[in-house]
Symmetry: C2
Subunit: 454 residues, 2 copies
Amino acid sequence: MAQKPSIPKGTRDFSPQEMSRRNYIFDTIKQVFRLYGYRQIETPAMENLSTLMGKYGEEGDKLLFKILNSGDFLKGVDDADIADRNLVKLTNKMCEKGLRYDLTVPFARFVVQYRGQLQMPFKRYQIQPVWRADRPQKGRYREFYQCDADVVGSDSLLNEIELLSMIDMVFKRLRVRVAIKVNNRKVLTGIAEMIGEADKIVDITVAIDKIDKIGIDNVNEELRSKGLTEEAIEKLRPLLEMKGSNAEKLDTLAGLLAGSETGMKGVEELRTVIDGIDSLGHDCEVELDVSLARGLNYYTGTIIEVKALDVQIGSITGGGRYDNLTGVFGMPGLSGVGISFGADRIYDVLNQLELYPESVSQSVKVLFVNFGDKEAVESMRIVKLLREQGVSAELYPDAAKMKKQMGYADSEGIPYVALIGESELESGTVNLKDMVSGTQEQLTPEALVARLKD
Amino acid sequence: MAQKPSIPKGTRDFSPQEMSRRNYIFDTIKQVFRLYGYRQIETPAMENLSTLMGKYGEEGDKLLFKILNSGDFLKGVDDADIADRNLVKLTNKMCEKGLRYDLTVPFARFVVQYRGQLQMPFKRYQIQPVWRADRPQKGRYREFYQCDADVVGSDSLLNEIELLSMIDMVFKRLRVRVAIKVNNRKVLTGIAEMIGEADKIVDITVAIDKIDKIGIDNVNEELRSKGLTEEAIEKLRPLLEMKGSNAEKLDTLAGLLAGSETGMKGVEELRTVIDGIDSLGHDCEVELDVSLARGLNYYTGTIIEVKALDVQIGSITGGGRYDNLTGVFGMPGLSGVGISFGADRIYDVLNQLELYPESVSQSVKVLFVNFGDKEAVESMRIVKLLREQGVSAELYPDAAKMKKQMGYADSEGIPYVALIGESELESGTVNLKDMVSGTQEQLTPEALVARLKD
């Protein structure tokens, strides 16, 4: 029953080299999350469908991977259901569980489920895969990781400032140059009010969110098609063409939105956040961008988006404040703010720019060549010494031809090869070869350990 | 649409405290895997059902979680299929994918799929969750982690010695006292031959595997019920009652199995492995146990099992050599040997014995109390300094009552609280309170960093 093995489309295997690179990214993000006092949680891959359904819109419901009930999945399904071939109804009866689609809904569920035990403000991070039955295409997978950090239970804008500071530290450590864009949902509301089209806020933000891609003329065309008056479109133009420093933009906005209470609140919030990150002496590029919208119906305050400066790719991190994360689970009024690092895109950026430190491609530090039983025994003794001192080391398990063993060291990127042959056995030494420079040294075991331990 | 949120039975959420403890275990195991030159891979949560089905027996097929095809899952299902209500047939038509059941089959699939690119011997480790539709009960979950390390492409017994050495290092680092039991499938074959019941090897090993639990009399009763002769049972007794050191047991076995070529091969292999680990100077307790069988049909050479000495619990690690891992995927003749650490049981052991180092319960090192806007700005500046020096620190985001902020530090186990009030702002100092001893110090920012950085 031989079969040509493969994996489901849109999923990936990760080789050791890919894992080293991915771990470098995940570890960097984790370390920063921890430095900022975020605590890790994990939730199950499977959630009840009642938790997931209806949270991502109708399209989202279709993109959930559903798990067939175990045992008799036709229990409760009668012939009429089947004859109708009503997929939604049948799914509801045959499947109780689905794979998590993002980390936000499971987090909201978690907060509500354990509300009695959680200390507020609750700062959590979570790094786990999510699954979506999307059509696979370049850069879009059916299984991918999300890296989320959120604070719930605090309205303070200090949280936003911290998140921006955290973004800066992550990308500084990864050596990726980024532009951080910020906006505020209240400013968007104010803009819609100011141009006399408050009821069209969704259409307006959807359209202006595209300005970088399609230009102002096409944006205006779209706004016209949505029924905005020429007057409204003219009023909007100076906002979209706003130039200058953040301080200048804030002053312009404050002037234009003076008539909107909500809008002015948004301007004040933006000012606090931008001043806050500036006063910390971060030299990251934070830019106020009123066209930034990102899932408008979700965010209620600050909106954040990060783009790589040196690679053409979509946003690599995004987030914002939401005021009703847990309402759908019966716990209204809890405010939260969070960001999500797009690990897969960050991985693409680092690959394109080759930004990995050299240590990432290294597996073990030293390979001991196997010359036979007697030599192997002594090699293993020294390998053990090295490992106890924290130096990764291995002995080639078979007394294969020298060329094969050296080829292994080469292909695995092992920087040192140690040889214990007959003469070394006699003299109690080790011959250490530097695979890069090609130099060889004769060392005592103790000197070898000292040499390789850094 | 408020709903009381919950998670599927048999699955778990992990709180920050649980995650710290679990990470301590996973990180320890990972570090050791790396010191020994194992390289990490990851495979997708979903595999094609064609990869998974038939690999775990009929019972296993039922325990696979199957994923409903997205889109029209009834495509290809005709009315007759439905009318029959043949669950297996319907599942085959409605589901192409399933969740991985263990890490071994995906690893075998990986090795075959990438055989052209892999350097042999290939030493991989993999730490990922697996899913089984088992009936949930205490200590048995539907989602749990496996931590596997395997070498394929090398017949050398040095690999077995390395794995034993690795087990020793993991449990030394975790401070868990263990007994490591070893056996060899060839010895079991030899025993069955020697007592004249070669065809009953499965019944024999299943029965004697239970000797620790049910005693020799019940084992013999079971053997009788399986049709073993009294003579065979009498011949088996001295083997099961074998006492003494490993060397003594090996000599006894060599005497008893002298007539079985396979048996003698097994004795030789055991001797090499046991001598090997002894010669490395490991002081772990490795015990030859001829009753050890563990999934006999799978293993073909060495069998390894680890038990905790101070907690009553099943085996916490196990493994062995298999000679035909990849045959089912059309790649015969590849020998491998590996072990699997039972992370969830190890977690239970560490919890029962309270073996976590103090650092595991610590989240951030220092909390800055928030006295208001002006003080918060200065606090954030110093928090930033600390983080840049690798000290995890946070500022309470709201200027809440002192009692509430101190309560937060307390419940999160934060060891230091820093206060910057009006007088500290004036003098440019920080008041640092040690939450354990209660002592307070007035420090410059630089002295504070030096104090908390260790």
